[in-house]
Amino acid sequence: MSLIYPRDSLKAHPPNASPDYKSTLKRAPSQPLILLPHTLSETTGPVFGHGCVADGDSDLTRQHAGEPLGERIIVTGRVMDEDGRPVPETLVEIWQANAAGRYIHVRDQHPAPLDPNFTGAGRALTDAEGRYRFVTVKPGAYPWRNHHNAWRPAHIHVSLFGPSFLSRIITQMYFPGDPLFAYDPIFQSVTDPAARERLVSRFDIGATEPEWALAYRFDIVLRGRQATPMEEPHEH
């Protein structure tokens, strides 16, 4: 089985030189990227199995003695390749601010309260159909110092490996209809409107739990597709 990664897909990504996001100014490479052939070093990657995910890792509301404050939500979706095929048993790591918009990270100085019952980190493995599910609280928006009166729209950070070094991705999931989208240079760094829309979860009434939690659906499409098996090794 040979994996083929169409290069055209890369157009969905934001350019690293996105000057409205000030932290890019001294961190974006100035030289052109060099095209790398897809060798075994790129088409393989680490696989993390059940041993990496403990019971309760996917429920961020049950990691402490009490329940965190905020609006309890379910975040669920499918991880797929570029042909829409499920990516089974792949690791999904998430982290986020609490309901007040404060991260537990030591360098977060936003004067909003920490929640002793919320860390904000979770892990899950996708099932055979590529599905994952987290229970958490809806993160709050928070201010940052990119420009005057800058606020990040509420978001959850999402990190995935997929089947190879090339499918590795870290992204952010947003919530539908956020009024801060228009003012956020990180969200807007994705210049293709259709690609940007793929960062926004959808409210999913079917996945809600009555009298308990609303649900948001965030499907994730990783690079790569499974090509037809070939008799001979095929080099690109």
Partner: protein, 196 residues
Amino acid sequence: MSIESGGADRPGGITPSQTVGPFFAYALTPRAYGGRELATELLASEGVPGERISIEGRVLDGDGAPVGDAMLELWQADAQGRHQPQGNAGFTGFGRAETTEEGRFRFETVRPGPVPGPGGTLQAPHLSLSIFARGVLLRLMTRIYFADDPANAADPVLALVPQARRETLIARREPGGGYRFDIRLQGEGETVFFEA
């Protein structure tokens, strides 16, 4: 997004990347927070066949200032040149570390063997490196080669890099025996980054 509940719908495209941001450590490199680490700076434990090596360096920005909030991930073949996606007897081939406030990192592993390349070529021993950081919207992808390896001269990937910039991909032996690999994100001596 046009994908409804599963089924045969073909996705409209891949999910775009976003920055890892400054606050990932308690989830991705959570040692200081008492969290379980998925991977560490140790890619091969003692007793794994091969020559033990260390690789250390700094991540610097366009002003030469340390990048103290980057996450680095390494991926490599074992000493026989085989990638081990599931890990194998103390060898994972995958490492992950956060830079210190001074932008420093250090990995311990075994020297990888040569890996098959395009068109029947053989690639010189190398490690694949991803750099994630605040201000980096799409991970930066590079490779670490070893200064003392004669196979570098015939490496098909190094051959794609202009001669003047090739040395940015080469880890140097330090007097203590370890390898040194500094990463300059921008400007003078900028590290070569790849698109793949």
